[in-house]
């Protein structure tokens, strides 16, 4: 229990510190790298909870694919400029922080009243294995699983349509603008 709990604590601290770094880094690239750190820590949590499938998917899809896409777009738009808030936005930050903290305490209150369901968990089944998750995807959740492929196809087409460079006069399509590169 001791060593395991230590690993859990380290993952916990890394996740929280990474979240703070996402919040307080003004450099977008550093913010994105901190988000990768949070995602890896959460993958560690999934491994700790015995959900290897979810943890692997977390590393491959989130930390691998989605964050690379983010970093690629940051690179493409050359956004190394630091974020500076104009005066009219500064005061609203405090309002936002207070509202978010209120939300946190609302959730914390909900979690603290969780002792009531302890009885239900005593009779619960053991944690599901990866086999069960896979067979669930292929049987009960087959239709939603197939629909996700349609969703991804729509997203791919949408991304291409939104991202292409289209000249309305000549009808010409190209990816890189010459004058932008100059």
């Amino acid at each position: 229990m001791g060593a395991q709990f230590l690993i859990y604590g380290i993952l916990y601290v890394v996740a929280v510190v990474g979240g703070l770094m996402v919040l307080f880094n003004r450099d977008t690239v550093k913010s994105a790298m901190s988000l990768v750190l949070v995602m890896l820590a959460l993958a560690g949590h999934y491994f700790y909870m015995g959900q290897e499938f979810v943890g692997a998917i977390q590393i491959i899809v989130y930390a691998g694919a989605i964050m690379v896409l983010f970093l690629f777009v940051i690179m493409l738009l050359n956004m190394r400029e630091r974020e500076v808030m104009p005066w009219y936005l500064r005061s609203s930050r405090y309002t936002g922080a207070v509202l978010a903290l209120a939300f946190f305490f609302l959730i914390a209150f909900g979690i603290s009243t969780f002792g009531a369901v302890e009885v239900a968990s005593a009779t619960a089944r053991p944690a599901p294995s990866n086999n069960e998750i896979f067979s669930m995807l292929m049987t009960k959740y087959l239709v939603p699983f197939l629909l996700t492929s349609v969703l991804l196809l729509v997203a791919v087409i949408g991304a291409v349509v939104m991202g292409r460079r289209h000249d309305p006069e000549t009808g010409e399509e190209y990816l890189i603008d010459d004058e932008e590169m100059a």
């Binding site: 700790y48 959900q51 989130y62 738009l77 978010a100 946190f104 959730i107 944690a127 998750i133 729509v154």
Partner: protein
């Protein structure tokens, strides 16, 4: 009940709160987007924690679906940002008010 279950839920709530604060604080549209991803991650963590605690199988598929939606959202959203950047040369969320009534 495993002692870490409550802690994991608190971590999920904390990360979700960070995401909310980030969405309200950041000005850069990509930073806002990254904080949305942080919130989705926090929700995923809660899903897995509940599935583990109560022995439910549904947690894994649900997380998979959330990740698919997040991937699709990231792809289309970032393409929109690139399209906006082409005409405006910036993606500051407070200045893009084309649809403001």
């Amino acid at each position: 009940m495993e002692p870490t279950f409550i802690y994991t839920l608190v971590l999920s709530a904390t990360l979700f709160t960070f995401g909310i604060i980030g969405v309200m604080w950041k000005r850069n549209a990509i930073s806002i987007f990254m904080n949305v991803e942080l919130m989705l991650n926090a929700a995923n963590l809660a899903f897995v924690a509940f599935a583990r605690e109560f022995g439910l199988i549904q947690g894994g598929p649900l997380v998979l679906f959330v990740m698919t939606v997040a991937a699709a959202e990231a792809g289309v959203g970032l393409a929109i940002f690139i399209a906006i950047y082409r005409t405006r040369r910036h993606i500051r969320a407070d200045e893009i008010d084309l649809l403001r009534g």
